[in-house]
Subunit: 460 residues, 2 copies
Amino acid sequence: MEAVFKYLAREQTRFVRELEEYLRFPSVSAQQAHRRDMHACSHWLAQHCRQLGLASEVVATPGHPVVIARTWRGRRPAKPHFLVYGHYDVQPPDPLELWDSPPFAPRRVGKYLYARGSSDNKGQHFAHLKAIEACRKTGTELPCDLTFVIEGEEEVGSANLAGFLEAHRASLRCRAVVISDTGIPDLAHPALTYALRGIAALEVEVRGPSRDLHSGIYGGSVENPALALCAMLAALRDRRGRVAIPGFYDDVVPLTPHERRELRKIPHDDRRYARFLGVPALSGEAGFTATERRTARPTLEINGLTSGYQGEGSKTIVPAWARAKLTLRLVPNQKPQRVARLVTTQLRRLCPSTVRLRVTAGHGAEPYVVSPTGPLAQAALRALHAGFQASPILLREGGSIPIVSDFRRILGVDSLLLGLALPDANAHSPNESFHLDAFAAGMRTSARLWAELAPVASAR
Amino acid sequence: MEAVFKYLAREQTRFVRELEEYLRFPSVSAQQAHRRDMHACSHWLAQHCRQLGLASEVVATPGHPVVIARTWRGRRPAKPHFLVYGHYDVQPPDPLELWDSPPFAPRRVGKYLYARGSSDNKGQHFAHLKAIEACRKTGTELPCDLTFVIEGEEEVGSANLAGFLEAHRASLRCRAVVISDTGIPDLAHPALTYALRGIAALEVEVRGPSRDLHSGIYGGSVENPALALCAMLAALRDRRGRVAIPGFYDDVVPLTPHERRELRKIPHDDRRYARFLGVPALSGEAGFTATERRTARPTLEINGLTSGYQGEGSKTIVPAWARAKLTLRLVPNQKPQRVARLVTTQLRRLCPSTVRLRVTAGHGAEPYVVSPTGPLAQAALRALHAGFQASPILLREGGSIPIVSDFRRILGVDSLLLGLALPDANAHSPNESFHLDAFAAGMRTSARLWAELAPVASAR
């Protein structure tokens, strides 16, 4: 490992130059105009992998192709097999006028490398590729077989990834997936993201009179649908900030004291955070910290409200209907379908007989968790420690990463989320950046990771 | 009176022809294109009044002119003076394609006369003019002096009426104003509308984070402004359907047993009414009938709700803000300003410290009531009885008629609301109509009214 780390340190300048070459491709998956750039970028990546000695190919899909790269020709059954996931497509760079330099002309300022895709996600999966190069060039045998799956549609919903996984299920059979596409609080706090929240979306419509009514002539004799909706939605939360739906918390796995201790290590200051968000004060479920509330506790949010007259001035009506868009963030082991049913049942119970109710369930995503005390997670934490020279922390993320569910559903394996993006990485925003120390630490972590994972993983 | 009634019956056919002539003017005050029609209509009306022997003139205002017509040259101090209010402007006739015949080409079908403005309001004040004609032509001396004030801006808010009243305050000094611009349930139920509700309008805004936040990353740690708004608005009503704002009912004059008995005479069927409005069932404040709730009890209505994402599908955000438009219908002796203050205070009390609240008071109108047992009201009821040959009922109307407050404020007098429009008159809608029996009954009522009013009114 000593030799590998030395090689990484020695070659870092060249790695950055190569990454800059990769970043020059405007591989914007969302825009038809960049179709050729997507093609060129995928082929550049496959070629680069071949130069590292990997068996690489560009695999067509109904959308943008997937680049696949293997450290193996024929699988060695004694060695465990892992996938490394990444994506070579990037977010559109707009609004261009807010960039300090052109998004596809990489620019170094001190320790920061600025370019669209630098953190999200080219730089992060490039670190894994360079770790492989270091192993090869130093004659360090990999204790496992690896397959890189670098897709080109992450920023547009990964619509063809599941089909790709289904089609190549046999050769992708593995022990786990490693993904570097999340964040860390700072360089002194490398992190394993071991849980994600799921989601259940619903639309609620309350219908009253068949048309908007004059509130003078009719007001008082019929229910106001907007007021009925407000009362129903307000009743979905109790005074302690909990979701007031019978059965909602039944499947919630409580946070262990260990997890809560770990979450408390994440740098956080309530007042600074409130100022950052622009709120007078933080809020939420009693008995939990802000970090726990937004990452490890389920929530109910109104995403939108619509009823009656919304223009200037006033219109004296009893509106015919009122609508709300709701999402519930879920934690292990809540199921989106069951939660949508519980919400619907409770809304029906709350709805007065003087109006009509329609609830429509929308998209759903399962929550996700990898046991942070399991052997794979512990191995990853050791690798992070070695790579960053700092004690890693355990993160939960409040959002959902749908591909993680695809990997679990289709390949039956967990994902290890080892992010390298700092809070100021500006992913999806102008002036996206990648910190070169995170790049270096990521390469070291990756080189160490396979040595840590291989012994604890049974071959598969 | 016998001679007058006979004259009215004999001349009815000619009266309808004259009314048709009046209805041919497309006197749409809202549309600049009809400016000449407004001018022509006002001059036709003034000329017609002159033919009846009235001293008539067209008085310019900053907007459309007012037609004034007097039964007197010099006021006779011994005789009481009354105003008759009406308006010669009409609603725009759109949508034209829904009319069965052109809106300004009057058409008779059985007892109905179809034309824009037939009920609202040309036909109704024309009945009063024709009653004067009948008195004059039969040599029946009027026991009072009358001044007709027929304005041209009622359908656009009567913006210049108050100024006109102020400017002519001395000559308009009177005992009461008679207005036929309201409705009756049917020809067997002539009615005196003796009370109107007032109104107080407010806009409520709850602001949370400085921008829409990702509900996955941040949701749970900040208050959702839409949910906070729903909870606040829901708390403004209690389980019995009452407005839950301290002090709100303090100034409400309770309905007397006599009033409640009278209101129960209005033909009404809960199930038929619910079907008409398209609701599964009626709703409202416990302990009151539907008629009482919509005419004689105060209410709180949400007129509009706006927050977050309102398009198709879902957007997983904690919205930055949520807004509601509210109106409260008021009954005597509630004051709009005081009610707006009470609502604001209660909203501030209900608002959590984790969001920011802004309440903006909008327009207000005072509720209105004339004692239904007072001598003027009793005189009007006797006239209605004679005119319709049916027992009149006492109505309260749920809406507001702002001009009534102008008369009270500027001239210090009550208005007697003696409506002639049937429920199928389609005021403000296509195929507006006026029932010719209501026209006839209205003329008889008017002829009788002055004889009934004069003795109970002190000269002024």
